[in-house]
């Protein structure tokens, strides 16, 4: 018997809907009803009173986890390097930002923390201080049993100095508390039709080439699999025949399975932000992913 994926949903899937048609409890209900067992959140998003929620809010959080039988998976955070127009974070300040979110993630029961670092160039070279921020927090992450995992996100592909830099860091420090998160948007091989609540125009495609997809070959996942600790199952549009219009799930699932990945697949819908649309899109993706995993495990992949 092969090992199996764990299925979760990120509340980011419902952004725009969140706070307008959906409460935190509704999000739990929608997620649990898909059959998923994990919930991913944005720290400064779902946590009321971030970064210091009240004890009443914490009671609600644990009551919801218990009632809907969901496990906290990953908490997203940001290390906003350019704190003001004039002041860039020092290493000490950036490390403190990360520590703040590690404390909160631990308090809420999360085992993964995704920090989003800034970039310093047009080709997305990360804030050079990121190593300092992380290294100063490895002991804290270890104490909490949390893996800090920056995200490999389109338009950054797998074969890229940014990814090499993260891997070098893991090799150099030998840490178990830093790893890679892969956002499956990197495998997108057909153009997006919508972005946010808008139809994509030719003008938009010119400035945001990534809208057409950077089409990373799923086989490349095998090269970095040993460093990957979490997967955000980014998607945008699954039709009523369960066909994804942008992400080639069959080769992706095949690569993940052959790489022995057995962590979370956390649904991350990022399609048309039409109210209520995300709810059923996430349901479709959960069915599609489980169907493909089952087909793979039963040897029904070509």
């Amino acid at each position: 018997m092969t090992s199996s994926f764990k299925y979760g949903v990120s509340v980011y899937s419902y952004v725009n809907d969140y706070g307008s048609i959906m409460t935190l409890e509704d999000a739990f209900d929608h997620i649990a009803d898909t059959g998923a067992t994990g919930i991913e959140i944005l720290g400064e998003g779902q946590v009321e009173g971030y970064p210091e929620p009240s004890s009443a809010w914490l009671d609600t959080w644990f009551r919801l986890l218990d009632q809907y039988k969901l496990e906290p998976t990953n908490m997203c955070s940001w290390v906003d390097m350019r704190l003001t127009l004039s002041h860039w974070l020092t290493v000490e300040e950036g490390a403190a930002e990360l520590a703040r979110d590690l404390h909160l993630a631990h308090l809420l029961g999360f085992k993964f923390l995704r920090p989003k670092f800034g970039v310093v160039s047009h080709d997305l070279v990360p804030d050079p201080n990121w190593e300092g921020y992380v290294e100063r927090n490895l002991d804290l992450a270890h104490k909490y049993g949390i893996v800090i995992c920056p995200e490999i996100h389109s338009p950054t592909p797998i074969k890229h100095p940014v990814v090499d830099g993260y891997i070098d860091f893991i090799e150099r420090t030998g840490t178990k508390n830093f790893g890679l998160m892969v956002d499956t948007g990197i495998f997108q091989d057909r153009p997006l039709v919508h972005w946010g609540s808008h139809q994509v125009t030719e003008e938009m495609r010119k400035h945001m080439a990534f809208l057409n997809g950077i089409a990373v070959n799923p086989e490349e996942f095998l090269d970095i699999a040993k460093y990957v600790v979490f997967i955000q199952a980014k998607f945008h549009d699954i039709d009523e025949n369960l066909e994804d219009q942008n992400i080639p799930w069959k080769p992706v699932i095949s690569a993940l399975k052959r790489a022995g990945y057995s962590g979370w697949l956390s649904s991350e819908y990022e399609g048309l932000r039409s109210p209520w649309r995300a709810i059923d899109q996430v349901r479709r993706q959960q069915v599609l992913l489980r169907k493909l995993e089952r087909e793979h495990d039963e040897g029904r992949f070509a």
Partner: protein, 134 residues
């Protein structure tokens, strides 16, 4: 909060033991603009992927109770409030396959202030819904 339309995305599910499902449930808002005694409901016709299930047979689940059509017709005390959801429970041995299904519902409600010959008002709704778990 409920979805704006009658048929909700969440709550479309099979019921009964896994491997021996008895049927499926569709979560709905109240098909009315105000809360209602259950006796004023005349049931729900359901069609899924073209297969028809009659309102005389389908049941209503609300809070922790399940009502047959006969029970609903005489239930003059229990009410369905405007902000609560209910579930239409449809018998179908084996349940529905995981995946996307076309759901059509005709919710039948009785308005005393409609003329006797059109006393039962049919509210129609349809959408795609997704069964997640076999």
């Amino acid at each position: 909060m409920l979805e704006h339309e009658l048929i909700q995305s969440t709550g479309f599910r099979n019921f009964g033991p896994v491997g021996a499902r008895q049927g499926f449930a569709i979560r709905v808002r109240i098909p009315n603009y105000h809360g209602t005694r259950l006796s004023l409901l005349e049931g729900f016709d359901v069609t899924v992927d073209g297969e028809y299930f009659d309102h005389e047979v389908n049941r209503l689940g609300i809070r922790d109770e399940v009502y047959t059509m006969a029970q609903m017709r005489e239930e003059t005390v229990a009410r369905w409030s405007l902000t609560e959801w209910g579930e239409i429970l449809v018998d179908k041995p084996g349940g529905l396959e995981p995946g996307v299904h076309k759901i059509q519902v005709v919710a039948r409600i009785r308005y005393s202030y409609f003329p006797p010959d059109v006393h039962i008002f049919p509210m129609r709704a349809e959408r795609f819904g997704t069964i997640c778990i076999a």
